[in-house]
Symmetry: C2
C-alpha cells in the first residue's frame, strides 16, 4: 500500500515503505501480519535462522543437512518473494574478526544466504554493518559475490553517524564518520552498481554538510528506528524538523523508508483498534506518520515534471557551430520566455543609452542579431525598440539555411520586411554593408564559452562600431566539485577513456555539491586586445566545510553567468541563477578516478581552454590532494569544432 499518490512522485521508489522483522520460519504469516494487517509494502526479514553456524553443524556433514532457512521457496509465489521480501543477511557475521572460526563461518554463511536469496529471486539483500573500522575481508568477499550477481541488489547497512571531533588518526578504532566505512567498502568493490547503502537513521543527526554528501551516493533505503521518533501532543509518533527535512530529501532521491524496532509510543487502546475492533499493527502509527510526510510534500512544478526524465541523464553538449540545430531544438529553447525577457530588457537599456530621448525620432540604431535562429532575439529586440520608442534597423544573421526559411516566414507574417534584413551566412565570414551599434547574440553553452561564442563574436565584431555594444557584454564559467556516483557509474559503463574525458550536459539531481562554485573563465565583448587570445588557464582551490567530513569527488558541475548589458544578467550558476529559465542544464566534467577530499586539505583543480586551428577543447586535472592524470590531452576525446 504505497505511501500515497502525489503529482510527480508516483514513479518514485520512495513511495514504498518496509518494516524490519525478526526471523520467522512462517513467512506467509509474517507477510500477512506486516503487509495485509500492517499496511507495509514489504518486509526486511532474515532468511536464515540466526543461531546457525556452519562450524557447529555436527561433523561438518553439510552435505546431509538442510540449511535452516525461513521455509521452502514454495511457501510464497515467486512474485511475492520478489515484491514483498528484502532479505536480511545474518547480523552476527563478522568477516574481519580476529577469530578465524568466526571469520570462516561468516564467509560461508554470507555466501549461502546470498545464494538462497538469489534462488528466491528477492530483489535485494541487506548486508549487516561492518563490525569495526576494518572491512577489507568483508569487502573482498562481497566483491567476489558481486561478480556473480545479475539481478540481486546488495544494500550495505551504514549507521548515519559522524562525530564532531575531527580525529584524523587513520588507525583509530573509533568510527568517527560512517561515510568513511562506506567509502572504503565501495572503493574496494570498485563502485559496483549492485552495491548500495541502507542508512540507519539515528535519533541524533550529524551536521547538514555531512548529511548533504549522501545525496550524491547510491542510497537505496533509510531505516528509521522507532527510537528516533518524538511524541506529539496527542501521544503519536512524529519526527524532529531536521529529521523531516532529511526524510523529504530521501523521498526526493528515490530512497525507501523502512520502519524498524519495537513500538515505543503507548497509544490508548481506543486509538489502537479501528472501528471494527480489530487490532491495529503495533507500528501502524509510525507508517501513518511516514505516509503523512510523503503526502504533505509539495507537488513538483510543471517544468520539473517535464524534466523528470532528464534527471542525472548524460547528454553530449550541442555543437551548434559545426552542426545545424533541428526544429525541435529551436522549439524547446524558444519556449523559454524568461530568457527573451532578459534580452529585451538588455536591448532596451542599450537603446536608451545609445539614443537620448530627444533624438529618438531621428536616429536609427543598427542592431545585428548574430545567430538569429528562427527569430526570437529579433522579436525581443523589436519589442525593446517599441517599448523604448527607438527606431531600429535589424540585420538577422543566421548560418543554418533551414532556420533561415522559418525566419523569412516570420518576417513576412509579422510585416517586418522594412526593418529586418535576413542574412544567410556564417557571421565569421559575412561582409556587412554597414557597421552595427548593437550586436545581439545568444551563443552560450552551459559552460558559457563552450559553444564557441568567443570565437564567433571575435569574428563578428569586425562589423561593430568602435563604440558599439555587444549583448552579452561578458560571460563567466563556474565550477564546483560534486559527489555523483550515478553519473560516474554511467560513464564507467562505457569502459573506455573517451567517456571519462568528455563534458556532459546533465540535469543534476542525485549529486552532492561539496563547496560553493568558483569562477573559471571570463570573456568580454567586444574584445579590444590587439592580439586576441581565447586560450585560458585557471587554477582553483576548493575547501570542504569543516563539519562535512571527507567526501569523494567524481567530477565538477559547471555553470555560466552572463552580463547581457549593465545590470541585466542571465545565468545558471546556482546562487545567482535566473529564475524559471530552463534553456540550460549544468555541464559535468568527470574525473577518471574519483578523488577523496578531506576538509583540512584543499582540492586543487586546473582547467584549461585550448585552441587549435580547427577545434577548441578543455583539459582538466587535479593536483591536490593527489595528482590525477591530465584529462583530454590535445582534445583527444572531446572537442568543439570551429
Amino acid at each position: 500500500m504505497p505511501l500515497g499518490e502525489r503529482g510527480g512522485w508516483e514513479r518514485s521508489e520512495s513511495r514504498y515503505c518496509g518494516v524490519e522483522t525478526d526471523f520467522s520460519d512462517d513467512v506467509p504469516s509474517l507477510l500477512s501480519f506486516h503487509i495485509s494487517t500492517g499496511g507495509f509494502d514489504y518486509v526486511l526479514a532474515p532468511l536464515m535462522n540466526p543461531s546457525y553456524r556452519p562450524s557447529l553443524v555436527e561433523g561438518n556433514g553439510l552435505d546431509t543437512k538442510v540449511l535452516p532457512v525461513s521455509g521452502s521457496d514454495l511457501v510464497l509465489a515467486p512474485s511475492q518473494w520478489s515484491s514483498h521480501v528484502v532479505g536480511k543477511i545474518s547480523s552476527w557475521i563478522d568477516l574481519d574478526s580476529e577469530d578465524e572460526v568466526l571469520r570462516l563461518d561468516s564467509e560461508t554463511t554470507l555466501k549461502q544466504e546470498i545464494a538462497w536469496a538469489t534462488h528466491l529471486s528477492v530483489q535485494a539483500c541487506l548486508l549487516p554493518t561492518p563490525k569495526g573500522t576494518s572491512c577489507a575481508n568483508y569487502a573482498r568477499c562481497v566483491n567476489q559475490i558481486l561478480q556473480g550477481l545479475t539481478n540481486l541488489q546488495l544494500w550495505l547497512r551504514i549507521p548515519l553517524v559522524k562525530s564532531d571531533g575531527d580525529s584524523m588518526d587513520a588507525t583509530s578504532e573509533d568510527l568517527n564518520d560512517s561515510w568513511e566505512l562506506w567509502n572504503t567498502f565501495r572503493l574496494l568493490c570498485e563502485h559496483d552498481t549492485k552495491l548500495s547503502v541502507a542508512l540507519d537513521v539515528q535519533s541524533t543527526l550529524p551536521s547538514e554538510s555531512s548529511l548533504g554528501r549522501w545525496m550524491g551516493e547510491s542510497v537505496r533505503a533509510a531505516i528509521i528506528s522507532t527510537d528516533s521518533f518524538l511524541t506529539n501532543t496527542r501521544g503519536y509518533p512524529c519526527l524532529s524538523k531536521r529529521h523531516q527535512k532529511l526524510i523529504s530529501g530521501f523521498f526526493d532521491h528515490a530512497v525507501q523508508v523502512v520502519v524498524s524496532g519495537k513500538p515505543v509510543h503507548n497509544l490508548t487502546k481506543a486509538s489502537d483498534s479501528n472501528a471494527e475492533g480489530t487490532q491495529k499493527h503495533p507500528l501502524r502509527s509510525y507508517l501513518d506518520y511516514v505516509a503523512y510526510l510523503f503526502q504533505k510534500m509539495e507537488a513538483l512544478p510543471e517544468q520539473e515534471r517535464i524534466e523528470l526524465g532528464y534527471r542525472d541523464f548524460l547528454q553530449a553538449p550541442l555543437q551548434p557551430l559545426m552542426d545545424n540545430l533541428e526544429a525541435q531544438t529551436y522549439e524547446t529553447f524558444e519556449r523559454d520566455s524568461i530568457k527573451y525577457i532578459q534580452y529585451q530588457r538588455a536591448v532596451a537599456k542599450a537603446l536608451v543609452d545609445r539614443v537620448p530621448d530627444e533624438k529618438a525620432s531621428e536616429l536609427t540604431t543598427v542592431l545585428m542579431v548574430v545567430g538569429a535562429g528562427r527569430g526570437p532575439l529579433v522579436r525581443a529586440s523589436l519589442q525593446a525598440a517599441e517599448e523604448t520608442e527607438r527606431k531600429l534597423k535589424v540585420y538577422a544573421v543566421e548560418k543554418n539555411p533551414n532556420a533561415v526559411v522559418t525566419l523569412h516566414n516570420l518576417v513576412k507574417l509579422e510585416g517586418w520586411e522594412d526593418i529586418v534584413t535576413i542574412i544567410s551566412c556564417d557571421m565569421r565570414f559575412w561582409s556587412a554593408p554597414e557597421k552595427a551599434d548593437i550586436l545581439v547574440s545568444e551563443l552560450l553553452g552551459s559552460f558559457g564559452d563552450n559553444e564557441l561564442s568567443p570565437e564567433c563574436l571575435d569574428g563578428a565584431q569586425r562589423f561593430l562600431k568602435p563604440d558599439g555594444i555587444s549583448i552579452p557584454s561578458s560571460y563567466t564559467s563556474f565550477i564546483q566539485p560534486v559527489t555523483a556516483s550515478k553519473l560516474y557509474n554511467d560513464i564507467k559503463a562505457h569502459k573506455d577513456l573517451a567517456h571519462f574525458e568528455t563534458a556532459y550536459v546533465v540535469k543534476l539531481h542525485s549529486v552532492a555539491k561539496l563547496a560553493p562554485s568558483q569562477s573559471v573563465f571570463t570573456f568580454t565583448h567586444p574584445n579590444l586586445a590587439t592580439k586576441i587570445n581565447n586560450q585560458r588557464y585557471k587554477k582553483l582551490h576548493f575547501n570542504l566545510p569543516s563539519d562535512a567530513g571527507s567526501a569523494l569527488v567524481h567530477g565538477f558541475a559547471g555553470y555560466f553567468d552572463s552580463v547581457l548589458y549593465k545590470d541585466v544578467h542571465l545565468g545558471i550558476e546556482p546562487t545567482t541563477a535566473t529564475p524559471n529559465m530552463f534553456s540550460w542544464f549544468p555541464i559535468f566534467f568527470p574525473l577518471r578516478k574519483p578523488v577523496e577530499v578531506h576538509p583540512d586539505s584543499p582540492l586543487e583543480v586546473h582547467f584549461w581552454r585550448c585552441c587549435g586551428s580547427s577545434k577548441v577543447w578543455y583539459e582538466w586535472s587535479v593536483s591536490l590532494p593527489t595528482p590525477s592524470p591530465m584529462h583530454n590531452t590535445n582534445g583527444r576525446s572531446y572537442w568543439v569544432g570551429l
Copy 2:
C-alpha cells in the same frame, strides 16, 4: 670516448659521459672542443638563443622571422646530432608564472624548441626544473607534447634535494622534497615512458632512504656540478664517499653522468698540459675522475652476467602442476648446486635423528621424493645416506612421463636399481605400498606456496608415517612495497586489466625497496589439522623510514623462506637469502594504480590465498592511505590450476 670497458658493464648506457655547455651558434666548434679535445661523449647544449622571447619579436611577425637556433641542421650530420647532442630547453621558461606574457612565451618557446629538436633527430631534450612547487601548466604542456613524440626522450631536470624538516603543509611554497615535484609532474603526465628524470646532484646529499627511492624511478642522467667535487691531496677533483656510492649506484642503473659548471680546481700548469704541450680541456680532470670511478667498479659475478638479460623482465610464473616442465628448465634448475647441498644437509640431519648410530646398520629408512623430476633430490638423498652411513630405500614419484624417462636412465647408469623405485604418477593419486619415514619435495615457487606445494603435500602426506618428517617442514612467503616504474610501465603497455592482476617472476633491479619485508602466509607439513584449509588472509602494515620522504608504490616484491629441516633453511627473502642460489627470482604483485605513501601514515595491505575446486589464486588490495580496488577477484586474471 666511453668511460671504460669493464666486465658486464659494456652494454650499459652509463658508460657515456656528457658535459653541459652554454649556448653557441657554432655547434661544430662546440663539439670539436668538448668531444674531440675534452673527451666527453656528448654535449648538453641549448638549441635556442637564451635571449629569445616570442612576444618581443617585432610586430609578432613570426612568419617572416627565422628562429634564433644554434645554426642550421646542416652544420652536423644527422648521426652527429643524434649521438653527440642532447638539447637543453631554454632555462628561463616558466609555464606556471603568474605573469601571463611570460607563461605564453614559455609555452610557445617550449613547443618551438621541441619541434626543432625533433627536426634534428636528437635523442633527448633536458627540460628545465619547474620554477615553483606548482607545475600543472608546465606538465599539461609537456603532456600535450608527449602525445606527439615518437623517438625523442624528455629528461626533466630535478635537483636532488630533500630537507630534513618534514613540513606536511601541502600549500607550502618551499620545496622540501624534489621527489614530490617529479611525482606530481609524472602523475599529471600519466607515467609517460618518454618522460624521465635528470637529477642535479648537489654538494650535500639527502638521507640514504631518500636517495634509495630514485633507484625505482626512471632516472636517465645525473648532472654533477663541479662545485660538488672535493679536492684531493694532489689538488685534483674527487667526490665524497657518499657521492661515490651514489654514482656507482647510478652506473649500475644505466644512468649517464653529465659534468656541469666551471672548473673550480686550479691545477698547476704542469699537469694542465700533456707531453706535447697542448692545452687540456678545463673539465678534463672531472671527466677523468668519473672514468676512474667507472673503471674501479667490480666486475659483475658470472651468475649476474648470465642474468643481465632478465633484469626487470616480467615472466609469467611456472605452472608445474598443470604443465610439464621442459628439459631445458630441469637443466637450469639442476645446476643450482647450493640448493641440493641444503637438501642433502637436511636429509642427513633427518636420517641421523630418525636412526641412532647403533641402529644404522639394521634399520632402513623409507624416503619418498615427491616431484622427483630428473632425479637431483634422489641423488642428494642418497649422498646424505652415504655421508651418514644410513640405509635408505627411495621411492621417486614423478608425474611428468618425460622426466621419468631420464630418471630411469639415471638409476640404471648409477646402479641404484636396488635402492630406488620409480613411480610414474601424480603424488596426489598414488597408492603407496608402504609408508614413508621421510617425504622430500621441492615444489616451491618464488612466493612459497604459489606452485601449490600445500595442496600437493596435503595429498602426499597420506603415505607418511604418523611420526614421519616432511622436508621442507614449513615455508613462509614475504612481501615488501616497492617503487618500480619500469615494471609498472611494462604492465601498463598491455592496456588491459588482466596484466595488472597477475603476479610475475622477475629479477628485480631498477626497483626501490621501501620498507623491510614482512611475512604473509605460512604452511607447515605434515598438516595435522582435522580439516585442512589452505585459504589464508593476512593484513600487513608497512611504514616508510621517517627520513625517506614520500614514495610511490607500484606493487609488492614477494619472496619465500623455507625451513627444510630444523636449522637448515632455503630461501630468497633478501635479509636471510641462501647465498649463490639462483633457482628463484622474486615475484612481483602489481597495483592497478600506484599508491603514494608518506612516512607518517602507514600502508595497509591485504593478501588473500583463495581456493576453488579447480584452482588457487591470490587477491590483494590496499586499504590505507587510500583504498584500492580489489585485485584479481575470483581469480579472474591469474590463477594456478590444480
